[in-house]
């Protein structure tokens, strides 16, 4: 177990973290970026990003890889580990991870992003990757001519639900309310798609199947009637939550566990910043997250210069 010293430790390799890394490394700060999964975060699962200014259309994974190479070319290091905790040590921060070494940073920028919500029903976790999916663009191709359920009523549910209809024979949207939250244009597309049907006021109580999904157990929230629906896939899009567990008790948070920061992405803890989807009121776009990351890196640079001048 060794301790390694950095100027800036960045937690999370989505657009916010990669942009922060670029500015931190170009600012001649010794910088490490920690990523627990796939660099790019949510965009690495996006088929096409079409709203990042200056880039008409790009595969999300490719965009993330380009950002990573750009940041690394200026000296940013990348480590594939999960962050376990952050604590103050003197005027610096100690970051513990699933890796062997502990990292010390003069400043820490948390860009840990957000993760999709799970239903929390029996069978869901056991059958993930076996018919339960949180990404239609990744998995829908394996359900050609089979029937699927799409859980949720927002933009993501409609968008991904529409994508599944390229493959599945039928997509039933199961929603706990009697109307959708999704934007009008997506609603109209969904209602017009003949492979899509809608089951209102209904929640999933259990995902059924031994080693593959074979159906779902449903309950109507108005009548309390239960039923079973045979199908092969359950695509779940019921919102997301910030990856902020390791910030709890350390910084102020809103009710949704987003970190509260000022316009420079600073928490009330000196040298601890938060940017992108993990912070309160994020616009949750690639472009806004990049802006957040850049702002945080510049703020961290100012902080380090002011605090650690020798």
């Amino acid at each position: 177990m060794a301790e390694r010293e950095y100027d800036i430790v960045i937690i999370g390799g989505g657009p916010a973290g990669l942009a922060a890394g670029l500015y931190a490394a170009r600012g001649m700060h010794r910088t490490v970026l920690l990523e627990k999964g796939v660099v790019g975060g949510q965009i690495s699962l996006t088929e096409m990003v079409e709203n990042y200014p200056g880039v008409p259309s790009v595969n999300g994974f490719d965009l993330a890889q380009t950002m990573l190479k750009q940041s690394e070319s200026y000296g940013m290091e990348t480590e594939y580990v999960e962050t376990k905790g952050i604590e103050k040590t003197g005027q610096k921060w100690r970051v513990t991870t699933s890796g062997d070494d502990t990292l010390i940073g003069k400043a820490v920028i948390v860009t840990a992003g957000a993760e999709y919500n799970r239903l929390g029903v029996p069978g869901e976790e056991r059958l993930t990757g076996k018919g339960v999916s949180y990404c239609a663009t990744c998995d829908a191709a394996f359900f050609r001519d089979m029937e699927a359920a799409v859980i949720g009523g927002g933009d993501a549910a409609m968008d991904e639900g529409l994508f599944t209809t390229r493959y599945v024979s039928k997509a039933t949207v199961i929603h706990r309310r009697d109307e959708l939250r999704a934007s009008r244009i997506l609603q109209e597309r969904a209602f017009a798609n003949e492979k899509m049907s809608f089951l209102w006021n209904t929640v999933v109580e259990e995902v059924l199947g031994d080693d593959q999904v074979t159906g779902v157990k449903l309950r109507n929230v108005v009548t309390d009637e239960t039923s079973e629906m045979p199908l092969s896939a359950v695509f779940i899009f019921i919102g997301q939550h910030p990856n902020s567990t390791f910030l709890e008790g350390l910084v102020e948070m809103d009710a949704g566990k987003h970190a509260i920061v000022d316009e420079w992405m600073r928490t009330k803890q000196p040298g601890l910043l938060a940017a992108g989807d993990v912070r309160q009121n994020s616009a949750r776009q690639v472009a806004s997250s990049v802006g957040d990351g850049v702002t945080a890196a510049i703020a961290a640079d100012h902080y380090i210069t002011d605090t650690f001048r020798d």
């Binding site: 999964g37 796939v38 660099v39 790019g40 690495s44 699962l45 088929e47 595969n59 999300g60 994974f61 594939y80 580990v81 699933s98 993930t128 990757g129 076996k130 018919g131 999916s133 990744c138 998995d139 191709a141 394996f142 359900f143 080693d211 593959q212 999904v213 896939a233």
Partner: protein
């Protein structure tokens, strides 16, 4: 240098099931982002286990028969075989240490 090689529906049995050493198969498709993160990790394992295990890649777009036979419903998925039997699987992108742990079950 040991590198993973392509396997298809037609040579699956001879290459994978009849292998005399443990086998790791990477189920992937060109459109799958996380698959491209797993590939270099499998390349590294292929070097480390040179002579002890064999490594294959199966393109699920072109080889749906094998993919559906093994109930692949999400990629990347890695399957580990020993003596024609599946001994473990890893679904989704995982760090290299997890892949190693899974492969080592074929040597237990």
């Amino acid at each position: 240098m040991a590198k993973p090689t392509e396997v298809t529906d037609s040579d699956w049995d001879t290459q994978v099931l009849k292998s005399d050493v443990p086998v790791m198969v990477d189920f992937w498709a060109p459109w799958c982002g996380p698959c491209r993160m797993v590939a270099p990790l499998v390349d590294e394992l292929a070097e480390e286990y040179d002579g002890k295990a064999r490594f294959y890649k199966l393109n699920t777009d072109d080889n749906m028969q094998t993919a559906s036979k093994y109930g692949i419903r999400s990629i990347p998925t890695l399957l580990v075989f020993k003596g024609g039997e599946m001994v473990d699987q890893v679904i989704g992108f995982r760090p290299k240490s997890d892949l190693k742990k899974s492969l080592d079950k074929a040597f237990a």
